[in-house]
């Protein structure tokens, strides 16, 4: 019995996001107009019935490109969040091996957190030479420390819990304690952590791509669409800048809301 009123909109947000995801992922089949197709008679056309969000300088439909870009963002973001969470979990478990390991993990976390995210992203993208894989790795590597710090604190509290002490005293191996006590305790946190990482990962992927060190320029990524739009800002082609960003905002916002609902629910 709880006094507090539960949040009722979680269900609707979940539904909305499910629809959004299905729409984005199936956009390539739903749309007759593929993101790359050029309409030479309609270059830099403002939004109209033919082209809902207008077209770019090569006559490519912005609606199709935005949807494709968003689905790309979601794909890259989810992979990055997944890898980031796995690294965080691995590092947190490593920290439980002993005080030396713990100190090492803490130092790595501090080091990565002391460099601004974007600079570390630039460095890693530079090291890997750009491209989709580089972006996924870079985002994963920059985002795990916060989650790892959380998990580590959580597990450290557990270390002196009576049932763990009992388990060790009863002669269970370190591996047993890891697998049957620590890991199950950390997993729910990991799910929430991954969900929280997801919107951040998408935003950082877009930022990196916008700066020109991210995804391959031939792909219709949101960051590239916006970087492209920068060139036509002063010529009045506002739709190029407004719509892809708005789409990104909506996706990130709904994911962010969903993850915070999950966090409260767990």
């Amino acid at each position: 019995m709880s006094r507090a009123q539960p949040r009722r909109d979680a269900f609707w947000i979940g539904t909305a996001i499910a629809i959004l995801l299905v729409a984005l992922l199936s956009s390539r089949w739903l749309l007759g107009d593929t993101p790359g197709q050029m309409h030479f008679d309609a270059r830099l056309a403002p939004p109209s019935l033919d082209h809902w969000l207008g077209t770019d300088a090569l006559g490519r439909d912005l609606w199709a490109r935005t949807l494709a870009g968003l689905s790309l963002s979601i794909g890259v973001g989810s992979l990055a969040a997944l890898f980031g969470t796995l690294i965080a979990l691995g590092m947190a478990m490593l920290a439980m091996l002993g005080p030396r390991w713990d100190a090492l993990v803490a130092l790595v976390i501090d080091t990565l957190l002391s460099v601004p995210h974007l600079i570390l992203l630039l460095l890693i993208a530079f090291a890997l030479g750009g491209g989709t894989q580089a972006v996924i790795i870079a985002v994963a590597v920059t985002h795990w420390p916060r989650l790892a710090r959380l998990l580590r604190a959580e597990l450290l509290q557990l270390r002196h819990a009576p049932y763990i002490v009992m388990s060790r005293a009863l002669g269970k191996s370190r591996r047993f304690v890891m697998a049957y006590h620590y890991l199950p305790h950390a997993l729910p946190q990991c799910v929430v952590g991954a969900l929280l990482l997801f919107p951040h990962a998408i935003l950082h992927e877009a930022a990196l791509t916008f700066l020109g060190v991210g995804l391959d320029p031939s792909q219709p990524a949101i960051g590239l669409l916006l970087a492209d739009a920068m060139r036509y800002l002063s010529s009045g082609a506002w739709w190029l800048g407004v719509f892809p960003g708005l789409g990104l905002l909506l996706v990130v916002l709904s994911l962010e809301r969903l993850s915070s609902h999950w966090r409260h629910a767990l």
């Binding site: 019995m1 709880s2 006094r3 507090a4 009123q5 539960p6 009722r8 269900f11």
Partner: protein, 271 residues
Amino acid sequence: MLSIEHLTLQLPYYTSWWRRRWAEVLSDVSLELHPGEVHAVVGASGAGKSLLAHALLGLLPEPKHQTGRLTFQNRALTAARQRQLRGRELALIPQSLDALDPLVRSQRQVSWAASRAGHARSDAWQAAGQALTHYQLDERGRQAFPHELSGGMARRVLTAMAHVSHAQLIIADEPSVGLDPQQRNRVLDALAALALEGKSVLLITHDLRHALPIAQQVTLMNQGRCIETACASAFRGDGDTLATGYARALWQALPDNHFGVLTTTQAQNVA
């Protein structure tokens, strides 16, 4: 001074996302408080004592279902009047010591209480100092942060905050909890002294023994109901003058008496 007639309180709880149900936490509670009197409300935890205190002050959050009539100084005590009188005529000495703001020194907290009670700004600081001195807090205690105070000192700061308001009705919620006997007596004596000034004191406690030395009237509560209101003097000997079996059983169960324990069935019958 204060009369409570047939007060019933229901609070909501949620069985699922959509289903809201109401739990009755106070049922048909009636009490009468007179000036110059310490009236003790005694009950186990979950009896609804603290909720009663918060309902009297109008501190319970919405949504709630509250019926019955409250009258204070011969006028109905409505929600609007509660808001108006809180801190001026009605004062609360809260149960928990973390009601003190950990970031504020004692004298400042008391002076805030004073200015909320209507003291002028310059006057509030002096009034606070006097109130704290009255409760035997020295200069260091006045300038201390709550974590630097002992339990008894913190309790006396809370009492000073109620005292500085010159309220006519003081509700003390478990003031004796967690104190050693000496400190406890100091706090209880302070409450008795407030009653001697002509104020009404509603003393909420789970321990009958703490209430009896200073209370004139005792009301026993169990699971949101008033079991019995009796004179403190009725708790004497075997408690033969007590009207209900529950009160007698409680009285006899005290360590100083027979340590009498009823069997479960008997206890259920008397309850």
